[in-house]
Symmetry: C2
Subunit: 386 residues, 2 copies
């Protein structure tokens, strides 16, 4: 019953609709709409909207207010959880520090604790779907991480099966970049972009790809691995073993390394002061020092933007997208970064491809991941309701 | 009537089918199949197969033997034309030298003459569709070249409208790389590949992209412009005005330039002999000298393969295709080129993405373009018959 899925999606994306509207939109007869809605109501997925209007049957229906989805975003050093209602509006959220390297049992047990806590606080009675993103390659079909380089113990760990068993609901597992791209595509700055490159700039660098309005995962599910595109033929050696990868030259980790070195060498007094005070300097310090006019920090951001821009220029020539969104932790580098990326992309790619190509910062920021995970969860739940 | 299109495609791709088969494949009732087929027969698009079997109505139908499509491949220095039957089997072909820079009137008038000649020789009575590829960007929707850099006078020239008027049949216009990719995807080595990068190595370098089984043209129709991806930050200046583009470093034109310089400097006695004899050296000479063991020629091919491989490795990380096909005039460089490309792609991209990734040479060679153009013509003609 594909109609159920389409009805539920319409009510999620557009809110309460009249029965007549639903029938028109799905090209269904009135009796058929009624029959299908009765089934969805019996399953407590849909209810009559504004049921306060006395005895008259309301012509409007909406998603059941008890619908709840959980979006979980596992970072390298964090767990973010958000509970949403059926329309994907946030109901409750919780974040904590965590180390992905402590292994799946420890991390997923914390996820379980957080969900239990949110339930105890009244955020939900039962979950209708869970979406979870992990910082590494995933077999979307099997719902397991596949040879994730920075997640010891997670390889083929049955994340989907265990969560589905524990919470008795459909579960979707994807990589962290894809869930963020989905978040921006459905609830952020890239709403309804036909073809979209969503670049996550964090500890590492990755890219979520929408083509023809659909998330594109590639032939083996590992499309978007742009952090390991070579940008120069010599140093440095990357964690992947190759040489001159984008993320070895520009990423949270690379920036920290270069900022520390600039602080130590004394070339940046501003960074040196922070290093002396805090014992370390991060991408955030670089952003703040740049805002304060520190020449070395500005240079580090410009250099990084130039490198990322060069890679993106090539990808624009190749795939001719309709939008580029820059997201992830490093978006704090802000307008200087964006200006540099734009300058390279607009200068290097075919004018026909860049004439109408917005290059913008993420709108949802740190929420992009959990928002996209909830979206994927709702899509799956609506499909399974069909 | 989408059923007409699907019937005609099935008969094109699989040959004669029984009425029962057609009904099953399209999920149509027997009377409905009969009615639809009667319409297609009346239009002389379909006929009963093997009509010699006396009075009994044959249960098999096939495409009408009078169906004819023309595939036209305009190169920078050539016109290739092929006439095919409804099943896209070649009926007649003709090629001649031509200069695309002589402008659309001159070139299209030669195309008209060639078609008239083939008609006079009995290759067709009337054309049911024409597909034409041009060596530059095309607005597929409008059927016109758009700002083609090496085709003076062709910008927005109404190629589709004029040909359709002249030959009174549907016409499809696409760029030369896309029609070659379509040719290999439907009739060559990439038959039914889900996601395919078809790299054309000729005077320039371009890429045709199949994703999810469909040709991907990009948001502005200019996807696949990989010849202008920057591969080094310094020289040489490319015809596009940028610096260090792939095709400024490796393409037919670049190879000719470097081979000439090697011949003049005396570093390659084999190339020097050919230059003295012929007055010029081409990519073909490099291939032949390499086969004869000339170290400089081998080095030129390896260097080119390394550069192209580097770009492809990045695109493999980005889009995770299921196959790469190398086509175009430079495929004569053969196994040395292929070995170098493979070596870089397999070394530089994610193992998950290259585990099942064939990198192979085109099977159709110079026929790829006309074959793909006929395919596109048949698709359009079948759609318009619906």
């Amino acid at each position: 019953m594909d109609f159920h899925r389409r009805m539920l999606r319409l009510l999620r994306d557009e809110g309460p609709l009249s029965r007549a509207d639903l029938g028109n939109r799905l090209n269904l007869s009135r009796p058929r709409v009624m029959a299908e809605l009765d089934r969805l109501m019996a399953g407590e997925l849909v209810r009559e909207a504004d049921p306060s209007r006395g005895g008259r049957r309301s012509p409007f229906v909406e998603l059941h207010p008890g619908l709840r989805f959980a979006g979980v975003d596992l970072g390298i050093t964090s767990i973010d959880v958000e509970i949403t209602d059926g329309r994907l509006e946030p109901v409750a959220a919780y974040s904590e520090a965590a180390d992905i390297r402590s292994g799946p049992q420890a991390v997923l047990s914390r996820v379980g604790d957080i969900l239990a806590k949110l339930r105890a606080e009244g955020a939900y009675q039962r979950l209708h779907g869970i979406g979870i993103g992990v910082p590494g390659p995933v077999s979307f079909r099997d719902g397991v991480p596949v040879s994730p380089p920075i997640m010891p113990g997670w390889d083929r760990y049955p994340v989907r099966r265990l969560l589905a068993h524990e919470h008795n609901c459909p579960v979707v597992v994807d990589n962290d970049v894809n869930i963020m791209a989905v978040g921006e595509r459905y609830g952020g700055v890239a709403r309804s972009a036909e073809s979209l490159l969503f670049v996550k700039l964090g500890s590492g660098v990755g890219c979520g790809i929408f083509l023809g309005g659909e998330l594109y995962r590639g032939s083996d599910g590992c499309a978007g691995d742009i952090g390991h595109i070579q940008v120069q033929p010599h140093d440095p050696v990357c964690t992947c073993g190759s040489i001159g990868c984008l993320e070895a030259l520009f990423s949270g980790i690379a920036l920290e390394r270069e900022a520390t070195s600039a602080a130590r060498s004394g070339s940046s007094p501003a960074l040196a002061r922070r290093l002396a005070l805090q014992g370390s300097v991060s991408a955030k310090d670089v952003a703040e020092c740049a805002a304060g006019g520190d020449a070395v920090s500005l240079q580090l951001i410009r250099e990084g933007g130039r490198r990322l821009g060069g890679v993106l220029a090539g990808l624009v020539s190749f795939i001719n997208p309709s939008m580029i969104v820059i997201g992830g932790g490093l978006t704090g580098l802000g307008s200087v970064l964006l200006a540099e990326i734009r300058s390279v992309v607009y200068r290097r790619s075919l004018p026909l491809a860049t004439g109408n190509l917005p290059v913008v910062l993420s709108e949802l920021g740190t929420r992009a991941g959990v928002a996209g995970a909830s979206f994927l969860a709702s899509d799956l739940a609506f499909e399974e309701a069909s």
